[in-house]
Symmetry: C3
């Protein structure tokens, strides 16, 4: 019997199957420093223990996307090692904050299956839940991936398509216990703009650009213990469609989120991930710019100090984002667009 | 109103104006590890909790230049986002040591203004003070930058030039409380040469060279949350004078300081920054060498165990520094010189 | 007198000489995070405080090879600054686990000397011991290096060749106190294969490849405070045999060990290093693959829960390792082979 992990193929998945993923991971201030060095986020809550405590956190929580990558990374060897494409995300809810010292592990449940008509691949839907060492949920999200069949002659399973929300409803948000905005200082946070200052339909060009380097995305992706070989192996890449190592899509999400500080400096907490598409692959040498659109504004039940903004975050490559590129005339993503990410943040009012 | 930070232009600064900078930053052992990985410093005090305690520190303090970059980085969005050039430093004094877990924030005061005769730019002098979470000063320094005017027709302010010291006097040094050299072990520190072994005028070739990589300076500069776009954006660089991303000047200071360990291994603490000039821009691919000159020796009031050395630290590119290059015959910096840094260190006697 | 460290030349070494190396080093969770980002290891014991505690560690110990590099790095300025080649390792025993916060320092003793017949170089054998702040041994190993003579006319010392074991005997292993496998969960560890599932002679292709980047090996090598100039200085490299910066051999060991997780996921602790050869130099741009062979299986005295596997770990460049390349027909290492590493691991039964 081979000792190496072959990953799961389409016919290995069954509806209701629960997969307890390997490698529980203690997240430390070392991971946080590396995350800061790789993307340059400047949100005060995640940068300063003092600032975080002033609004009710026990200390600076780790970046929500760092928690996301850690939870996501664990699912790769079981869910997407034989994936052709990562198709989408839905219904992502962030739970209790993750603090340095917390240990995160992930469990996935298969919630949908649909074989493709070509008989060679199928779509697998999983719900993945990350929990800390006390069993508290830190992230609960769904994604679907196209996975190869091991044997093209294997019979197709019954098609099951899960009902997934187009948007996480505000009632589902998990506001960290004890959070209070009374002492939130916008000057220290680096932006005077509060929730009330934003309007639906507003578009923001985040101005700055960052050029991607091969070693940066590799270090990031290994930090998350994400093992997808397309990110690391130039010998395999030479035989592939692009001739280059593909950058982990989450690397682009984190970079775009860090760039979005310039315009959204008080968006201190991600409450939900509504949807996300990696419109085009990114490669080392690409320079990433970003823009955002306010898709929705939500008051939060019983709170006058805090509101939620639903945002579209778009990453663009090798050009400024000042004209807010998204789709071409044919309705497809513009070739310069890397990411179309729909998420919801908390912001002081 | 635009949500992004346009930065301040020359006419936005007023004498006496106080700017409380954004993003307080908790410095952790993660930042320290990354700093070590990026530059390779080997000073025992900053490398070992045990060694640091043996001479009176509570544990290993973070590298003084890491503290400098953190304090400096915060000033960039407010002071130098529209800067044409970083012209100089003076009167930099290091205060209480920074330990992992400390949170540092910065405040700057405008102490000088002078419009240039071309009417397009002006020089802004600021005094910047970094403090820890207890309000204790960790660094107090002055710098001046050339900043663009937003409107060339805006009237010139009255010229105010601050009086800045050519050198920080030994009386101004802040010797960490409790420091005692009795148990300082030079063998563990990696150099037998104490304060008494150096003489004014002595030049030291630090021998080793380090080649700069694009991802290294980007990771460093993001770690410091320094947002100056010239360091990160190749698309903008393609339109610029050099066609390349510029390396943050502080990256060269840190690299040269780490190289200077070979010859100055007991220079365990920076007491002051007297002056500094970034003689030429540095780019990825350049190999940095360094040499030092002893500019002065100072006994310290009431101490027989500790002395101060004033040093010139010169970084050179793409050639050995064994002939101590500094200026060309025309009096300008030699084209191979990157940095001319005048600072003062503490050393056991 | 020159203030810089010239390193030791062959005639500077004497049998029995003890060298207390500089720069004690506190290892932190920052070092651990960087190590994870640089190599991507996924062993659960080193990744999770919870998992580590479940089998008797006080928390997640640092990777054994991170401890090795830290102990090794300190010896470089004294032992191998003037080395021509790192010839071999033998008799390496890992002692107490290293935890974040521990401070490691190294002492070496010269145990062998043999001048080469060309009169220009000689072989120096040292025994190096790394200890933590309590004086407990964390690593004890021997290596031998070829070192230049300062003066070719210096007389040859009497030849002394140490007796070195071809393999560390199981009786010499230091099993961490309190270790118990009862609660070891193979699913969380990421591999179902226990000690009993492996057989002597079994070969495992670790499948995945990782491409080396210049900044990655530089960051790693500086993190270990290893100062060998061949790794960092492109100006010197341009004059050298390869025209490129050489990658620290230990970087390849760590990368191959991380790749070997895919097939050896329960090899959670290195007990011993038996031997090791850097068969060919590695450079940035090379893609590293790895394979292993089970050289031996050992029961451990008094233990039914734990066994030891002696493994050969071979790193290969720029090609898959599925045909297990090692030596060419002439008996020399195959030109694609980078590393032939003989070590022993502990694994749950």
């Amino acid at each position: 019997m081979s000792k190496t992990n072959p990953g799961n193929y389409f016919e290995d998945f069954q509806i209701g199957q629960e997969i307890r993923h390997a490698t529980p991971r203690t997240i430390t201030c070392g991971d946080v420093a590396l995350y800061t060095g790789l993307y340059g986020p400047r949100f005060a809550v995640q940068s300063s223990d003092e600032f975080a405590r002033s609004i009710g956190f026990q200390s600076a929580p780790v970046d929500d996307l760092l928690a996301f990558h850690m939870v996501f990374g664990k699912t790769v060897p079981d869910v997407s090692l034989n994936a052709v494409a990562n198709l989408g995300y839905a219904g992502g809810v962030f739970g209790v904050p993750v603090y340095p010292g917390d240990t995160v592990s992930s469990v996935s449940t298969v919630i949908g299956l649909k074989e493709n008509s070509n008989g060679k691949t199928g779509v697998v839907y999983v719900n993945s839940v990350g929990r800390n060492q006390r069993g508290e949920m830190v992230l609960d999200y769904n994604r679907w991936v196209m996975v190869r069949k091991r044997d093209e002659n294997a019979p197709a399973p019954a098609t099951v398509l899960p009902e997934l929300p187009g948007m996480v409803a505000p009632e589902a948000f998990q506001i960290p216990v004890g959070l209070a905005m009374t002492s939130y200082e916008t000057q220290l946070a680096g932006s005077p703009h509060r929730w009330d200052d934003y309007y639906v339909g507003e578009k923001i060009d985040h101005v700055n650009g960052m050029t991607l380097e091969e070693s940066e995305h590799q270090i990031a992706t290994r930090l998350y213990q994400n093992t997808a070989k397309v990110h690391f192996d130039q010998v395999a890449a030479n035989e592939g469609r692009f001739g280059k190592r593909l950058i982990y899509g989450g690397h682009i999400i984190s970079l775009a989120r860090a760039l979005s500080f310039n315009g959204l400096g008080n968006a201190f907490r991600i409450a939900a991930i509504n949807a996300g598409a990696h419109a085009n692959p990114a490669f080392a040498g690409d320079t990433v710019f970003a823009w955002s659109e306010v898709l929705g504004k939500f008051e939060l039940p019983g709170r006058r100090d805090l509101g939620a903004l639903r945002l579209r975050l778009v990453a663009v490559r090798n050009r400024q984002a000042s004209d807010f590129p998204l789709r071409s005339e044919d309705g497809k993503y513009h070739p310069d667009v890397l990411l179309d990410f729909d998420y919801t943040v908390l912001m002081p009012r």
